[in-house]
């Protein structure tokens, strides 16, 4: 009798605990259904629309996000460099390459919750395309680190996980047809001072 009660309890704990934990885990993970990955960058073009999958819908309402609309822009997030290593705030990186067509774009360094890194200095950990110096072939090289660097410099500091968020505004790539053949810049680690 007691054995049966115990077995029922085991089944219930596995069901409720496992079910709830797996939902929490999938909502916590940055990767998800409906993601489009281009190189090191990931975007969720459907997030916040009524076409979104149940996971995106749950994430939207749980985090209280108001996602960008198609006519506004599309955000890409990178959590690893192009070699597959996780991004770290104590390392220096270069972001190099071609940026797709958009009216303008912004790039910022973020922490785990995708809030911009606080630099405690007047210079924010964010850049936008109007202030970028370009190479003759229209590509741009952005140096990321906590020491001033020539050219385009994205200031980061502190330690821990690092995310890059690259958002294109008023861009034709936000309509899903153009997403397959665009290229995004490479993220290369240039050194660490651990």
């Amino acid at each position: 009798m007691l054995k049966n009660v115990l077995l029922t309890l085991v089944a219930l704990v596995v069901a409720i605990g496992g079910g709830a934990a797996s939902v929490w885990y999938t909502l916590q993970a940055q990767k998800g259904v409906g993601a489009i990955t281009i190189g090191a960058w990931t975007a969720f073009p459907d997030i916040g629309t009524s076409d979104a999958d149940p996971y995106s819908k749950a994430r939207v309402s749980r985090e209280g996000v108001l996602a960008l609309g198609r006519a506004e822009g599309l955000a890409f997030v990178a959590e690893r460099d192009s070699a597959g290593e996780p991004l770290k705030r104590e390392c220096a990186y270069t972001i190099d390459g071609n940026f797709p067509i958009a009216r303008f774009w912004t790039l910022y360094a973020a922490d785990q919750s995708l809030d911009v890194i606080k630099t405690e200095k007047p210079r924010p950990a964010a850049l936008q395309s109007y202030q970028i110096l370009r190479k003759p072939d229209n590509t741009a090289l952005i140096s990321v680190g906590n020491h001033p660097l020539p050219g385009n410099w994205l200031y980061i500091q502190g330690s821990g996980a690092l995310y890059f968020v690259l958002t294109f505004y008023d861009t034709p790539i936000a309509s899903s047809t153009g997403l397959s053949d665009i290229t995004l810049p490479q993220i290369v680690r240039t050194g660490c001072h651990a």
């Binding site: 596995v14 069901a15 079910g19 149940p54 108001l66 609309g69 506004e72 910022y108 008023d170």
Partner: protein, 182 residues
């Protein structure tokens, strides 16, 4: 032993069912969604800044640090809603969300008649009424027909650098979100 394995297997099947049930219930029962957070911060038809610049922690996470944003909640069952701002800024965009935070429609300053922000959200039935006799002050407005009742309008505006902050703040603070009857 066999019974234990059976119980765990049963539990795993149950976990799958619970997973789906919880997932589908999260949007229904969330008290942390954008609408609920805005409702705690301000009333219907009141423009609320979403960025931290206005003081205090942001009500709803405004994602981009180079953007300022403001939102107002509306209920089309009471009448159509007009959002308007007199100023000009380098870039603005407007999104309309339904009650559960899904983006229904978005447009930016390239869609506007002359540049200034002036938009009206209304239901298809209200649109029919407005078409019969267009009020003079709505002639330059962008009309957005949506089949929803409650919703959120969000205005986002680009802050290219520090010097633009006062201008963009003024643009958002002076924008009005008004219930229009006709």
């Amino acid at each position: 032993m066999r019974k234990l394995i059976y119980a765990v297997l049963l539990g795993l099947v149950g976990a799958g069912i619970v997973h789906i049930a919880v997932l589908l219930m999260v949007p229904e029962f969330s008290e942390r969604d954008a609408w609920s957070r805005l409702a705690q911060a301000s009333d219907l038809y009141k423009v609320t800044r979403l960025d931290a610049e206005a003081g205090g922690p942001p009500v709803v996470k405004s994602v981009d640090p180079l953007f300022f944003a403001a939102a107002c909640r509306f209920d089309l069952a009471e009448g159509m809603v007009q959002i308007k701002s007199p100023d000009a800024v380098p870039f603005w965009s407007v999104s309309i969300y339904d009650r559960s935070g899904h983006n229904i429609y978005s447009f930016n300053d390239h869609s506007a008649t002359n540049g200034p922000l002036d938009a009206v959200a209304l239901t298809p039935a209200q649109m029919l009424e407005v078409r019969k006799q267009l009020p003079e002050d709505l002639e330059g407005s962008v009309f957005v027909e949506t089949p929803i009742d409650e919703g959120i309008i969000v205005v986002r505006s680009f802050v290219p650098d520090e010097s633009w902050k006062p201008t963009v703040s003024r643009f958002l603070d002076q924008s009005s979100c008004t219930l229009r009857e006709f």
